[in-house]
């Protein structure tokens, strides 16, 4: 019973107990009703590592739906700045206007979106005068590939022959790009370029249980079945005995289930409410801030929902 409630079990060909079933009244003898005290007792956030670009932390004691909500909001509802309009005055490069605009749009912009407003609908006329300092960043790119007067006579490499030469954009000299771009605030739901994360995802903490003691050559083999560091070998009474050292390192490749002699000595599962969350930022905001922003978005959504509910009543 406890296993059904708390573990996702990885069998060789299927995964069982994937859904959380601990809603109130489902299990006789368990009080699954939600209360803050119990939640705050169980709930835990352990930050494993965090730097400017990515972050890994554990979210323990929470339902999958909530963890998933954070993931979804991070991907599609936390705003960032991205290039949305490209005004092309001249483009004689080999990249087509639309492709150039598309690629410019995908460049992450290191600007704090919290300092900007969303562009209002009547301010979005598709003309250059749309830009206001409150909602738009304006960039300008004006490059021209010219002949390098200092180039030696027998130079053949285009980067020696030409100034401002970019092999990918300019085939030849006298090609020019003259553009003005507007970067605005937006969310990932509208276009992936506004997504603040390269990806945000989570996995459940793996759990490996040895149902019997595994010793000798079998233990060696067991160790090889997992990523390095998952299984350690101890010497006990002159024999080598396997011990689960760090299940967190396991990649859930289920390699061990291929070995018929090990298959029955081991049980693979994952802890249902232990989420190893990873956020990779594109660089506009540090990942921890992003997560805080995601929480704010969720809170405002909840507030909105409560308001809606109250209005109806």
């Amino acid at each position: 019973m406890e296993e059904i409630r708390t573990r996702v079990v990885l069998n060789e060909h299927e995964i069982i107990n994937v859904n959380s079933t601990d809603f109130p009244g489902n299990y006789p003898g368990y009080d699954d009703s939600w209360n803050l005290k119990k939640f705050s007792k169980n709930f835990r956030v352990d930050i494993v590592n965090v730097n400017e670009r990515d972050m890994e932390f554990d979210l323990v004691g929470i339902d999958a739906s909530v963890a998933n909500a954070f993931r979804r909001i991070l991907l599609s509802e936390v705003p960032t700045m991205a290039i949305d309009k490209v005004f092309i005055y001249n483009n004689t490069s080999i990249i087509q206007d639309e492709v150039l605009a598309h690629r410019l749009g995908l460049i992450p912009i290191k600007a704090d979106p919290r300092l900007f407003e969303y562009q209002t609908a009547d301010n979005n006329q598709g003309s250059e005068t749309d830009a206001t300092p409150e909602d738009t960043l304006v960039f300008e790119l004006k490059v021209r590939c010219r002949k390098n007067p200092q180039a030696s006579r027998d130079a053949t490499d285009p980067s020696d022959l030409y100034i401002d030469h970019n092999r990918l954009i300019f085939q030849d000299f006298e090609k020019e790009i003259d553009i003005k771009v507007h970067a605005v605030k937006g969310i990932g739901k509208d276009h992936a370029k506004f997504s603040p994360v390269a990806t945000a995802s989570y996995r459940l903490l793996p759990e490996i249980t040895l149902t019997e003691t595994i010793e000798g050559a079998l233990a060696e083999r067991l160790k090889d079945c997992f990523a390095p560091g998952v299984i350690e070998l101890d010497e006990v009474n002159d024999t080598i005995r396997a011990r689960v050292a760090n299940p967190r390192m396991d990649t859930c490749s289920r390699e061990v289930l291929r070995h018929s002699e090990l298959k029955d000595l081991i049980k693979l599962s994952r802890i249902r409410d232990h989420f190893i969350f990873s956020v990779e930022s594109t660089g506009s905001l540090p990942p921890d801030t992003l997560f805080m922003e995601a929480i704010k978005v969720l809170m405002s959504k909840c507030r909105g929902l409560i308001q809606e509910l109250e209005r109806d009543i």
Binding site: S76, Q96, D97, H191, A192, S201, L204, S253, R254, R270
Partner: protein
């Protein structure tokens, strides 16, 4: 201890390997392709034509004489095809590049010049380099400017270095001449008809004529059948007519076995009954049976002479008759008879028409030479006609034939044939359509696949499976997978990777060699010796050369000589045991491929040779020259023991396959692990690879094609094949590596629909560019008026161009970079209202003409952008404006995608990334594919491709999925495990919607996906109201005309069955072509506005609604003197 054990094991595996394996013998393949190129067969054939064949055509028709003046003659001394150039007026020419021809709608052609000797009056004159016409030049042939150029030089000429050439550019379009498959000429084919009657037939073909001769059996007697005779001639009479008067001699020629004797008896008897004993009697007999043809001058011939001439020149035309010596032809005819008799008696098996050794491929060079010879003869006869008619007339200037040599006949003849594909050759009465096709430039592969295509002359409608099925003798020569589905299935084929098609070569040296090797000349032999069971007959290109006692020695020596380089490498010699014959072939059109020679169980190519090859000190030709490799044609293959792998070599083995995957062609070569797929899937992919968009060449951005599809971000496939590397597909790919999860999702994935990830589309997956062009000509008319282009109209109030003219530049042509919407103008063109010269000369000069608007506007539901505008001129028009329009498209629901395993599907749903499942690493699939696509299709190759790509991504390298080889699944799985993935490639996924794990492990990894050209945007169509046809007033048909959707017969039947009469009325009349007519109830005819003109009254005119088509029918019937009368009754009476 443990390591020692593994060492032992390793040794064992090593021991199991054959000794001194030739490692990497596949490297011979790139060497082969480097020498020959991918479309070498076309180029070789064309080179042969313009460098030697054209000369022999000239030699065969080199003299023109005149009936009017016996002293007059003109003789061709030499003929040349020059380098492609263009005449820029006033005899100034400049060399031209193929790309310029494409852009300017011109023909890439070179002048054909001749040296002649002729008489002018009493003078004898020699003139050199006189142009007689222009020859379209095949790209990358010996006379093309591109041959031997480095990639950098090619880039300067705007040409793609990977493009194989082998096609023509005629009036700006690229035309490929398809390879034509035919039954080989000048060979006996023994067949049996439905009743079991055997017959032997030969299609003789010489430069002059083509004819088919049969020896058939009717009621136990044998006859000669030929279409110059009104009825079949008894064979004995024919033999007698050729000078074999003695019955015994006839029988000896045919064979003196008991069975043959018995079969001959009725025929001999028939000859006796016809009272034919001497040659003259026989000729007279035949002369009376000659089909009368219209007489065209010439001295009247007697029947005997006529018959004799037919026997000499038309019947079995390919067998030479020198000085009326019929010996060889007699032997040949006797042999045909013998084979028919033996086949009748079932001693001999009938020949298989579909056997590929009996087929010849006709290539561009041969087809052009047929056409050119015809045109050249016409040119000469025209000159003769001019000479005949001009010389007798007294003139001030002497007759100079050079002044009458008109170039346009040959030029236009060639250009017209290539651009229309209609090959009509008068002297063979040949009329063929569809010989050329516009080179398909949808993708690089489609262009390449087009160049290797073979069409068969076989009728498509006939329901026989023989010619369509895969013949074992096609092994290695033709691709077993690449054939279209449907009516042309099996009739259109493709060459395999290493196939070479031979060109003609002279027979004389081969004959000399054969005679020196102890072949006894047929002239010296009597009948008994020829049919003796001790000897083998020796044939050269279908003609009897003689007999040999020791055929084995002959064949062996011949092959030795060939390997030593004394004979051309493409001469083939092979014994045919049931015919007791040795066939030597040097004719063109045979398919052959190279093999490694094996002697005494050891392949002659050693690792050392391959090493030298990789170092670059040895070329493919060196292998041939040193006798390490040789070409085998289909007939010779049958006499060889060819080992597929080195381990299969036994004592008897004579040859070794270079690489098994070369049995596939270029299109099938793209498929990874094709040997794991169900075979029709590979066939489907061959068809679909040609529709995939991607890159079409390095020069794609300089082209202005009518339609061009490009992929924004094409990727090289993660799992590649050797073929992909060889043809350069990874440099100009057509597809993207998509991460595919094989699982069910949402129900929008039934029937092969795919689910796409929205974020992937945002990031550029499947994004494509569609280019279209618009051509505008500015003409000059007979009255010196010409079209003009005017600047945009300016709105008086806003001082801006009016909306329709928004995209126009100051010169009246749209500006590059502008967006054009539906109905906006591309070119603001004006045309003079009067274009014919007026009779009375008005004083107004040019520019005084009145003009009317003929705007060129953009049509399309989606706007386009102007990519570029080209202003140029070509031979006909003084101004040619080409506008290139561009659209960028992102995949949408309904767009078609396909993997490389014949698994096509449309996009069924686009799902935001947050709803997509994700793996532990946070990987989201780009595509979700329903697993039901697998079991019935059995495309295991796709599963292995996924494993290979996944392993490749993790390892950071490309894996190989080459046919009959490639990386092993076990190895790929090991790589996955090493990187912490599941052995089977199945991942633990979490649902993006609920956030909980999925119940099943999901097979996920990258698969190379192609975007096919079928897109929803090009097909969407709906209409509420719109245009109608003028005649019937019914809605127009088809999307291009904004037509209605037809409620057809079957739909109508449904509604009738359902009894929905009002709906029917509404659909078929009211919403279609309802028309109010006035009917006079007195006469029953149609009236007009309440008046019946027939009755001259308005008393009984009633008005009713009928379909306009019905009214039309009545009127048409009336025009045919049929009176349809309508009688009206009250509804309730």
């Amino acid at each position: 201890m443990d390591s020692f054990e593994t060492m032992l094991q390793m040794d064992k595996t090593k021991l199991a390997q054959p000794v001194n394996t030739v490692e990497e013998k596949w490297k011979l393949l790139p060497a082969f392709l480097k020498v020959k190129g991918l479309v070498r067969q076309h180029i070789d054939s064309f080179n042969y034509f313009i460098n030697s064949e054209i000369r022999s055509i000239m030699k065969a028709n080199d003299k023109i004489t005149s009936d009017a003046d016996p002293n007059f003659y003109m003789k061709y001394l030499n003929i040349y095809v020059g380098m492609p150039d263009v005449e820029e007026g006033f005899n100034i020419t400049k060399p031209i590049s193929p790309h310029e021809c494409r852009l300017r709608d011109m023909t890439y052609s070179a002048p054909i010049t001749v040296d002649i000797e002729y008489t002018r009056g009493q003078q004898r004159i020699i003139r050199n380099n006189l142009p007689i016409g222009r020859m379209p030049i095949m790209l990358r042939s010996s006379n093309c400017v591109l041959t031997g150029k480095t990639p950098a030089e090619l880039a300067k000429l705007n040409e793609c270095p990977i493009d194989p050439g082998g096609y023509f550019i005629v009036k700006g379009t690229e035309k490929a001449i398809l390879i034509q498959e035919q039954l080989s000429k000048n060979r006996m084919i023994v067949e049996a008809d439905k009743k079991g009657n055997a017959s032997c037939s030969v299609t003789s073909s010489t430069h002059e004529r083509k004819s088919k001769t049969y020896v058939i059996m009717k009621n136990g007697r044998y006859y000669l059948k030929h279409n110059t005779f009104t009825e079949d001639i008894p064979i004995v009479i024919v033999l007698k007519a050729m000078g074999v008067e003695c019955d015994q001699e006839i029988v000896q020629l045919v064979g003196s076995e008991e069975k043959v004797l018995a079969a001959m008896a009725p025929s001999l008897e028939e000859c006796y009954k016809a009272q034919v004993f001497t040659q003259v009697q026989a000729l007279k007999y035949m002369g009376n049976k000659v089909r009368q043809r219209r007489m065209w001058g010439g001295p009247k011939k007697t029947k005997v002479e006529e018959a004799r001439e037919l026997l000499q020149g038309t019947i079995l035309a390919h067998v030479p008759v020198v000085n009326w010596n019929f010996k060889v032809k007699v032997v040949y005819l006797a042999l045909m008879l013998r084979r028919t008799i033996l086949a009748q008696g079932a001693t001999l098996k009938v020949d298989d028409r579909d056997y590929y050794g009996n087929k010849r491929l006709e290539l561009a060079g041969q087809l052009l030479s047929l056409l050119f010879e015809d045109l050249f003869k016409k040119f000469n006869s025209e000159l003769k006609k001019i000479a005949d008619s001009t010389i007798p007339k007294p003139r001030a200037a002497q007759f100079d034939i050079v002044k009458h040599m008109r170039q346009d006949q040959i030029t236009n003849g060639l250009i017209h044939a290539i651009s229309s594909g209609n090959w009509s050759i008068k002297r063979f009465k040949m009329e063929r359509a569809g010989v050329t096709q516009v080179l398909s430039r949808l993708s690089f592969i489609s262009a390449l696949g087009h160049m290797t295509r073979i069409t068969s002359q076989f009728e498509k409608t006939r329901k026989v499976s023989g010619p369509r099925s895969l013949q074992p003798s096609q092994w290695g020569m033709l691709c077993p997978s690449d054939t279209p589905e449907g009516e042309a299935c099996g009739l259109v084929k493709n060459l395999a990777l290493m196939t070479h098609v031979t060109t003609d070569m002279p027979e004389e040296p081969i004959i000399r060699l054969a005679l020196n090797l102890g072949v006894e000349d047929v002239h010296l032999l009597s009948g008994e010796e020829i049919t003796s069971p001790q000897v083998y007959l020796v044939f050269i290109n279908g003609n009897i050369l003689g007999v040999t006692r020791d055929y084995k020695r002959l064949v062996r020596t011949f092959r030795k000589m060939r390997r030593a380089g004394y004979l051309n490498e493409f001469v083939s010699i092979s014994p045919h045991h049931s015919y007791r014959a040795v066939h030597i072939a040097s004719d063109g059109g045979r398919v052959c491929r190279p093999y490694i020679i094996v002697e005494k169980g050891v392949p002659k190519v050693k690792t050392r040779h391959i090493k030298e090859l990789t170092q670059g000190v040895r070329s493919f030709d060196d292998f041939l020259r040193e006798g390490l490799l040789e070409y085998l044609d289909v007939n010779e293959e049958n006499d060889c023991q060819i080992a597929l792998y080195e381990s299969d070599i036994t004592r008897k083995t004579t040859h070794l396959e270079i690489e098994p995957f070369t049995i596939l062609g270029v299109c099938a070569g793209l498929i990874p692990y094709p040997h794991h797929n169900q075979s029709p899937r590979n066939t489907y992919q061959c068809a679909m690879g040609k529709q995939a968009m991607g890159t079409i060449g390095y020069n794609q951005r300089n082209r202005i094609d009518t339609l061009m599809y490009l992929l924004c971000y094409p990727q090289a496939p993660l799992v590649k094949t050797k073929t992909i590397e060889l043809i350069g597909f990874e440099k100009i790919p057509a597809g993207q590596n998509a991460t595919v999860a094989v699982m069910s999702y949402s129900g929008y994935d039934i029937e092969d629909a795919l689910i796409l990830n929205e974020a992937s589309l945002d990031r550029g997956f499947g994004r494509c560019l569609v280019y279209r062009n618009q051509k505008v000509y500015l003409k000059r008319y007979a009255n010196q008026a010409f079209d003009k282009v005017m600047g945009p109209l300016i709105d008086a109030q806003t001082r801006k161009p009016i909306w329709r003219h928004e995209a126009l530049d100051q010169d009246g042509i749209c500006a590059p970079g502008e967006r054009v919407m539906n109905k906006q103008l591309l070119v603001n063109k004006y045309m003079p209202t009067v274009t014919v010269p007026s009779l009375q000369a008005t004083g107004s000069g040019p520019g005084q003409h009145e003009y009317r608007e003929v705007p060129i506007s953009y049509k399309g539901i989606e706007p386009s952008y102007i990519e570029k505008v080209m202003i140029s001129s070509n031979e006909e028009e003084s101004f040619l404006i080409k506008i290139l329009l561009r659209q960028t498209r992102r995949p949408e629901i309904g767009d078609k995608f396909s993997s490389r395993h014949g698994q096509k599907g449309v996009c069924g749903l686009i799902v935001p990334q947050i709803d997509m499942p994700f793996s532990d690493l946070g990987i989201c699939p780009d595509i979700i594919m329903n697993p039901h696509g697998y079991p019935s299709r059995m495309t295991v190759g796709k599963l292995i491709e996924l494993m290979g790509s996944k392993a490749g991504v993790l390892d950071g390298k490309f894996h190989y999925g080459t046919a009959f080889g490639g990386d092993k699944v076990g190895d790929l799985s090991e790589i996955l495990v090493r990187h912490g993935f599941n052995y089977l490639g199945k991942d633990f996924l979490t649902s993006g919607i609920t956030g909980e794990p999925l119940q099943a492990y999901v097979f996920m990894g990258p698969i190379y996906y192609q975007k096919l050209k079928h897109m929803v945007l090009d097909k969407v169509h709906a209409r509420a109201k719109g245009p109608r046809a003028v005649l019937t007033r019914q809605p127009t048909e088809g999307r291009s005309k904004d037509g209605g959707l037809r409620l057809g017969e079957m739909e109508r039947d449904c509604l009738i069955g359902y009894g929905a009469s009002m709906l029917l009325l509404e659909r078929l009349m009211i919403s279609s072509d309802a028309f109010e007519v006035e009917v006079c109830n007195k006469c029953g005819l149609l009236g007009y506005s309440g008046w019946c003109q027939y009755c001259k009254s308005s008393t009984q005119v009633a008005s009713l609604k009928i379909p306009y088509a019905c009214k039309l029918l009545f009127q048409e019937l009336q025009s045919m003197n049929i009176v349809p009368r309508l009688s009206l009754k009250k509804y309730n009476e």
